[in-house]
């Protein structure tokens, strides 16, 4: 049975088109689709069947990754509403950008501290709170139909994502150094 590629990602997993996500339902329906389409199910199929299986599961995986990530899910919801995202799009909220820079600097300082790992863990926790509040404001803007504000929230999520990556990278580096 072939997959209907014309469905959007939410429809693919039989989920409501909205920002709040039932993760268990997504996981459940994801597995059900994989069970049906995975290339391993066609180990003895024709070349075409296997190629289609690779493409189909690739599509299912892509959709799953996109919905699992709050930022990508938010971005996708806006794209469904014809909002364009350009390569060079960025937020111009100076206050926000200043705050981002401060947090980055705080990470750099923490790295040199005696209890570095503890401090980095703490900042990572703050970043988590920041992410939660920006997601909250995205949801409000989306519901109110303020698409350009909602888009700005998505762009800000990207900054938090990079901060989060940086914190995680530092955590790993500090852990590695503990036995160097």
């Amino acid at each position: 049975m072939s997959l209907n590629f014309k469905q959007n990602y939410f429809e693919l997993f039989s989920l409501p088109v909205q920002f709040p996500l039932d993760k268990r339902l997504l996981a459940h329906n994801f597995r059900a689709l994989q069970s049906q389409h995975h290339p391993d199910r066609f180990a003895h199929g024709t070349d075409q069947e296997r190629r289609i299986a690779v493409q189909t599961t690739g599509y299912i995986n892509e959709a799953n990754e996109e919905l699992k990530s709050p930022r990508l899910r938010a971005r996708y919801l806006l794209i469904l509403q014809q909002v364009d995202f350009e390569l060079c799009d960025t937020t111009h909220d100076m206050l926000f950008l200043m705050h981002q820079m401060e947090t980055r600097e705080a990470l750099e300082v923490a790295e040199q501290a005696d209890n570095a790992l503890e401090q980095v863990d703490q900042i990572a926790q703050q970043v988590k709170h920041g992410v939660a509040s920006i997601e909250n404001s995205f949801q409000q803007h989306l519901q109110a139909g303020n698409l350009s504000e909602a888009k700005d929230a998505v762009l800000k999520m990207r900054f938090y994502e990079r901060l989060n990556d940086e914190a995680k990278r530092l955590q790993e580096k500090l852990e590695d150094e503990m036995f160097a």
Binding site: F5, K6, A27, H28, R31, Q34, S35, H38, P39, D40, R41, A43, H44, R50, R51, I52, V54, Q55, T56, T57, G58, Y59, N61, E62, N64, E65, L87, C88, K168, R169, Q171, E172, E175, D176, M178, F179
Partner: protein, 622 residues
Amino acid sequence: MALLQISEPGMSTAPHQHRLAAGIDLGTTNSLVASVRSGDATTLADDKGEHLLPSVVRYFDNGAILVGQQAQAALTDDLQNTIASAKRLLGRGVADVKTFNGVLPYEFVKSDSNVPLIRTVAGDKSPIEVSSEILKTLKARAENTLGGDLKGVVITVPAYFDDAQRQATKDAARLADLTVYRLLNEPTAAAVAYGLDQEEALDEKIIAVYDLGGGTFDISILRLNRGVFEVLATGGDSALGGDDFDHAIAEWILQQLGETSADQQTLRKIMVEARRVKEVLSDKEEVNVSVKGFEVSFSRDQFCQLVEPLVKKTLFACRRALRDAALEKEDVMDVVMVGGSTRMPIIRERVEAFFEQPPHVDIDPDKVVAVGAAIQADLLAGNKPDSEMLLLDVIPLSLGLETYGGLVEKIIARNTTIPIAKAQEFTTFKDNQNAMTIHVLQGERETVEENRSLAKFTLRGIPTMVAGAARIKVTFQVDADGLLNVSAEEQLTGVKSAIEVKPSYGLSDNQIETMITDSMTNAKVDMEARKLREQQVEADRTLEALDSAMANDGDDLLSEDEKKTLSEARANLVAIKASGTTEAIETAIKAMETAAAFYVARRMDGNIRTAMAGKDINKFKD
């Protein structure tokens, strides 16, 4: 014409054919082959009753090759021609191998490709060739035991293996003339072997697989839900294993001897003694170390202190994997131990303390991976059509591209479920830039130097534009085995370039047949393209049918006017086939079939008359 087939509900219409399949654990120290026979997965023994095949290959000047026990026996006598631990070299480049200098006693030779070769009396051998000898031996063992040709195998690899290492493993299998159903992550195989998927009690459970083998350490966090295994996160170290515990003891022995270095022969002897000491300490509290007449006692406590940094390293990797999976230690419901090195009491104790529960140790940790691979091979061979089991894998290391300033932009993050395709747009940074180098990297670090370089290729023919105007879409595509394809396309002009990532570390291209190269850049577009191609083929088929019919009896059955009508319909279809959409071609095919309907009917009448001519009418009554 298809006939209706009547069969018992649930029964297949053809008698079931059992396909011979095997699971292979290609290990650093030992390798095994297992198969499912009469419903049970067991490892297969050689004619001496040995299950473990030492992963050692010895080359002779007359071209003879010995694999396994006999080769291992020569390790101290003929070490230049006796290759052990080839798995550590699989998929590694010349630069990586330099770090093994002093650790491995081989003479490495540069080759045209970036594959390091080992100089032996039988010529220069790549790690891929060495590994293929081990696979050939296991293949022969399985075919002798099972009494037939293997249809396919599942080969296990450490979850931590990168793209080059996976590709090299597949290349070794191809050299051994094996069909690979699937490369399977070793820890996943172990979870399958324990049959944890058979327990119905819970909706969902989290399993940690702690795998400390001879040369690699892996920690994997799996989620199991009604037969579906999902790898949530993997971590570990592809250069940390039981061998390092041996090395730690060996270094201690060297210190006791008061020597800082020794000749390779002595080193080898010390290594053998170190391994013995380690194994004895698994059962005893104390052991006598004896090398070259030197004797000293060594306790388990001393050993534990010596290897503490190694043990800690594995536990930190566990913590990291849990964080990647966004889980806490308390979420883990089963811990599975894999690899001979988990026999060390210190490992069992520390893992139990970390996860706060006793780990599963019932299946021989050396055999558990091969057993799981055999179960999966049996399934993929189609011998268990009712099984619900499905293994979903993730990519172990992030994949990315070099961007301006020697930084790496990640395209696919580690622990993304595969197969997957992801695209990202880049642009030119100089005015009139006509080419762009795409440098593909694997790893978690921010800068190019700290990651593994997988491939480099250049997209040429970018039209002249100001900086930032070009839109170059780079697509990464990873198949179910974790192997990567990269393509780049300039969006405005459609200039394309693509590469299968393997040339840096694999065999040369003409030795390797092409893998799946079809683009899955954009599944939707590609599916549409495929439908269009199929409709075009259908049009060709219809045209050919008409042409051959007309060549056959067109002059007999058709008037000139009728011929003219048909050739007009034909010309219409030819034109639309060349430029029309899928739907337009479909319509045109139908139109031509309608136009030719009278001719088809007339031909059928003719055929029946021919068929019946000269036959006794009574024959048709039976």
